[in-house]
């Protein structure tokens, strides 16, 4: 596998705090009635996954103290409390990023989605790796299946919210970035299909991908009919 690494740089500087309505993001999926005919299963999975990743990224940013806790609000997702940023730019960035990730997931071309937390010198200190694999034959048969997936996702969310127990504290002034590990030659098409204008993918620096003396902490693995995903954290041994 010759994986290419892409990276979205985020040079966010917090300036303003806005309220942000989440209605449009959360909960649109559950309303939809799924039938075999009018839904592309890959899309469904991508929707579910991106929705989840959005929640997860927000939560990670909160739990790992990347941004002050003041910009986060408590919400309910998957029937558990989660923290959601209220900063519009941050939210926009996350949304845009995931928007770009979605086509990859749809085609089962994303292998890993990594949330990298970096210190002031842009050296990664923690990497939250969502390793995704989809079964080739997708079939969504009933509602029970989806609720099952929801349970599994909830378990991961809960794991994230307590992961600080097993991780060392991050140094102050951290930022984050999202990396996507793609499978094979997915990049070729990516240039052509730019989902959002002027929001291109770039190849990640080697420095951001690799961490020296990292320790691996598995957090959660889920296996369902539509998706197999595991989340683990790679943590730098010496953070400061």
């Amino acid at each position: 596998f010759s994986s290419h690494y892409f990276n979205l740089q985020c040079n966010m500087i917090l300036q303003k705090l806005f309220k942000y309505s989440l209605k449009s993001i959360f909960g649109y999926f559950t309303m939809a009635t799924l039938t075999r005919q009018d839904l592309n299963f890959g899309q469904v999975v991508a929707d579910i996954l991106c929705e989840f990743l959005e929640v997860a990224i927000h939560l990670i940013l909160y739990v790992r103290d990347v941004y002050p806790s003041g910009i986060f609000q408590k919400r309910k997702k998957y029937n558990v409390p989660v923290q959601m940023s209220c900063h519009p730019d941050l939210n926009q960035y996350i949304q845009d990023t995931l928007h770009c990730v979605k086509p990859l997931i749809e085609k089962n071309e994303a292998e890993k989605v990594v949330v990298v937390i970096m210190d002031k010198e842009h050296r990664p200190v923690e990497r939250f790796v969502f390793e995704i694999s989809q079964p080739p034959l997708l079939s969504i048969s009933s509602e029970t299946l989806l609720s099952h997936v929801e349970q599994l996702l909830r378990a991961i969310i809960l794991k994230i919210s307590v992961c600080d127990a097993v991780l060392d504290n991050n140094p102050p002034g951290c930022t984050f970035t999202v990396l996507v590990h793609t499978r094979e030659a997915a990049t070729r098409n990516m240039e052509k299909v730019q989902v959002i204008k002027d929001f291109p993918w770039i190849v990640a620096d080697e420095q951001e991908v690799h961490m020296e003396e990292a320790k691996l902490i598995p957090l959660k693995t889920m296996t369902s009919d539509i998706l197999k995903m595991q989340l683990y954290v790679e943590e730098k041994t010496q953070k400061t």
């Binding site: 089962n108 390793e131 694999s133 079964p135 080739p136 034959l137 097993v166 690799h210 961490m211 990292a214 320790k215 691996l216 902490i217 598995p218 957090l219 959660k220 693995t221 296996t223 197999k228 595991q230 683990y232 790679e234 943590e235």
Partner: protein, 1146 residues
Amino acid sequence: MSRDGWRKKASEDDGWGGRGGYMAAKISKLEEQFQKDAPREKQKDGTSSCIFSGVAIYVNGYTDPSADELRRLMMLHGGQFHLYYTRSKTTHIIATNLPNSKIQELKGEKVVRPEWITDSIKAGCQLSYVQYQLYAKQKSLNFTSICARGKQDLSSTNDPFKPNPSHPQSDSIKNGSCSIIEEDAERPRVNGIHDGDDDDACALLPRGSQDTSLTNGYVHPVNGALKPQDSFAEHSPHVVDIGSHQSHLPQTESRDREEPSCSSAGSKSNFHQRSLISTASPAKQPGLHSMQKDLHPKPTSNPGTSAAPQKGNLHDQTRVRLNGSYHMTPNSSNLADSSHQPGRSGKGAEAGVISEFFSHSRLHHISTWRNEFSEYVNALQSRRRAAGGAVFSGKEKLKKLKANCSSGSLMAAPQVRQSCILHVDMDCFFVSVGIRHRPDLIGKPVAVTSNRGPGRVAQRPGSNPQLEFQYYQRKQKQYRKEVPSNGVDLDLAALSMAEIASCSYEARQAGVRNGMFFGRAKQLCPDLQSVPYDFQAYKEVALSMYETLASYTHNIEALSCDEALVDATNLLVELGVTPDDLARAIREDIKEKTGCSASVGMGSNILLARMATRKAKPNGQYFLRSEEVDDFIRDQPVSSLPGVGRSMSSKLTSLRVSTCGDLQQLSISRLQREFGPRTGQMLFRFCRGLYDRPVRSEKERKSVSAEMNYNIRFTQVEEAETFLTNLSMEVQKRLEGAGLRGRRITLKVMVRKPGAPVEPAKYGGHGICDNFARSVSLAQPTDSGQLIAAEAIKLFHAMKLDVKDMRGVGLQVQQLEGSHADPSGQGPSRGRSIKDLLLAKQPAHSPKKDPLAPQGWSSVIRTGVTPPSSPPSTSSDPMPGTSKGGLHHPHTLNHVRTCLNVSIEVPSPSQVDQSVLEALPVDIRKQVEQSWRHREEQPSTSSHLSTPPRTSSSPPPGPSLGTLVLQLPNQLGQPCTTGFILELPDFSQVDPDVFAALPRELQEELCSAYRNKGNTQAHVQAQSSAENVQCPSSSSTDVPETLSKFNPRPVPTLAGAYEFSDIRTLLREWVTTISEPMEEDILQVVKFCTELVEDKDLEKLYLVIKYMKRLMQQSSESVWSMAFDFILDNVQVVVQQTYGSTLKIT
């Protein structure tokens, strides 16, 4: 265990006790047989004499020579041989060893070592038995022990009768009657005469005295004390030995109480009897008739009573005291009474009962025939192998027949080579054998059973049949809403509980079923005729059936005495006949040779053949074509599937599943959830007609066991121990017989369920029981009875049971290996491994596979032959033909005489020697060429298809790219286990080790095949039907494109466990029970962890590692810490390679 009551009807008490009882009839019949056989035996042997005229022996327990041999000797030399001990008639007891309790009970008997007989024969005259006596000091031993025993009885026997304290007086009668029925059996003639009129008792005297005089003839001075008694007994019908009268005493005393006039001497016995009857008749007994029967043996003990005081020895005092206490516990007499009847297995505690039980349990006997026939088939095969070829008379005949009318009715051979299994089953075997010389019974409802009477018996006291029936009914209700129509019948209590071994189709129409109680059957079908067992004939017929089958092919698997599987695939190809023709020929042959009809079911696998047989019956044949399978199986009731017994089918019913079609609707995961992974998988496959076990002539034994749950009534712990010892001896005998040793001993105990009646409805049966089992593993495999006994007794004590409630005991020895130490080390002699642990946890119903040795799989992979099928022994069996390296070449394949389909990768054309190709048979060559062509047509577009080692088991039916399904002519004589199986084996049968050892591509492919099987059932069906249609083009077209991307991996398992909780249990057991881990186990764990990494299940890996860390570092043994470090190091390396960082273990 519950079914076992079935076989043990030998001592069934039936309804016609009025004429002497079943036992009496049986004994006299046995005697007749003996008389009949004697001349024949004499003729055969030539040396005959009359040395032993007047001697009647009874063999107790193990002897050398064996009981059978002694029987023969007695035949030859004018003696008598009693299968059942009868005090009045048996003159000598032959035994080499008797346990204490037995010695205590056999008082006046002459217990003689078997050498007496052999030496007498050598000497040509009857020697004095004195020096052969087993216990020289029988006498003195007797008395002391008797007294001790009497006390024990009193103190220990109160409990069993507590439940009915309300009628203390009638109790003694009731209980008495219980035991006395047995006595009836021993003295049939006496009873027979007594029955009619009391006055007739006089007529007995001559006979009684005759017996006595015979007995007296051999009385030796040592037994002098018996003499007064013996002479006294001249007046009375029976000889009463001191031992028995001693234990009779309490009872007699109680009689005296009830009826003072009874304390008279035996000469008054007639009067005595009458008076007793008159007093007893108001008692709540079913009828006067049985009452009478019950009572009259009692007076026979009276003479003894009165004789005892005459002797006036010390023991009288003891006795008096005994009697005193007796009045407080009136029931104990019964115990004492019943316990002194050695002739009947009144108690499981008696030695020899076990071997006697097993040698007499007729159905047990029949069940062992299967092994015999298996051996017979094996012997045939090996003989043939040695001779280099055999004449199959039947086959030749069929060939000729075919040649004669090749133009006519028999069509040309179907060119498709399709595996065809024949399931040959005799039609209601016992019945048709039983009536083959009785044409008058043909067409009538007939049942084979031990009961020939009206099917009614008196209800025995202490039993509560209604309660038991209710219990079983309730049990059924758990699953079923409506109770089956043959549920409780209040009258049932009075019906005979002799079970029907087999009944004719006419009887079945009336609702009679095999295994039904005869009394009930008689109600359903009043015309029902009963036919006795005829074991000699069964054996003859069965043997000739097997001979007939063997005249066609030797690919036979013996299933039972009347059932066999025949793999006719190659036979059909060779002969070029249709399966129907073959079946017809076989059936005609069997009919001609045995006079009994057989049904034949045919199908492409064993399962289908068996199901077809159901349709074929009676006396027919049915060929289940592969294209009909779907429709056929959908309507089959689930209960027709093998392995679906009563409990499972009721469970299925609760899931609203009654037919296989219903079952097909359930997903595999559902089934596995309900029934466990293996059974679920099995059901899933079965209901689709999938079954991949080949016909195999040799079967590996999983366990050797002996169980007895008939007539187990212990009173003391010692008895149970003795019983266990004896049972162990029986197990030893069987182990030796099979040439095996085992390492795991399981003790199974049936204990009366609290609240269940003390006496079950079936006489001597076990009633409602709880089952308990415990097992222990030994360091070394053993076949020593002593060792087994020691362990069993330990287990027994650990269970802390009330011996009185024990109703059944079984000993099982598992983890067998050949008793001749196997140099190949195949047996688990290296110690206990994880797999053993797992095995012990789940009594595997599919054979456990030996992992292929590493060098084994590497070569297998190189040659492209999948070892998926796991016939376990591919690597371990020293089969010369299956050189693993040589399979890549079609030419070599031809030498490998496997009788199964072999699928191999076709090497590319450039690699094949043209001359070899030309040397191949035309059809095989064509296939090879075709597959090349095929390969060229479709360049490997996907990674899936280009994976180098192609397996036989890929989802596309028939040969897909690069694969060629070769079907080689069946080469007989090679055990099928060495073959390679085309069809995908049951997933549960795939050994995880083997699987893990495969290269990744192969694993993925196999897995996808399995997944595909589960997902797209249609494919599976197509596979089974298209398996033999050899058109490669039909296959690959309809394979979905997605398949190429489809590479799910197997769930990593540790010795079969994949749920974390299971793994945890396994690990815990591993670490806690073993002081020093074995290297292979550690490697196994490492492999499992590696698989987890590859499976991207780091979470589970993390949990497993953390759990192991906790376990192993806690362990006091430092080796465990080292083991953990080793495992962790290895895992970290893999994680590092995969993820670039190592696990954080805190």
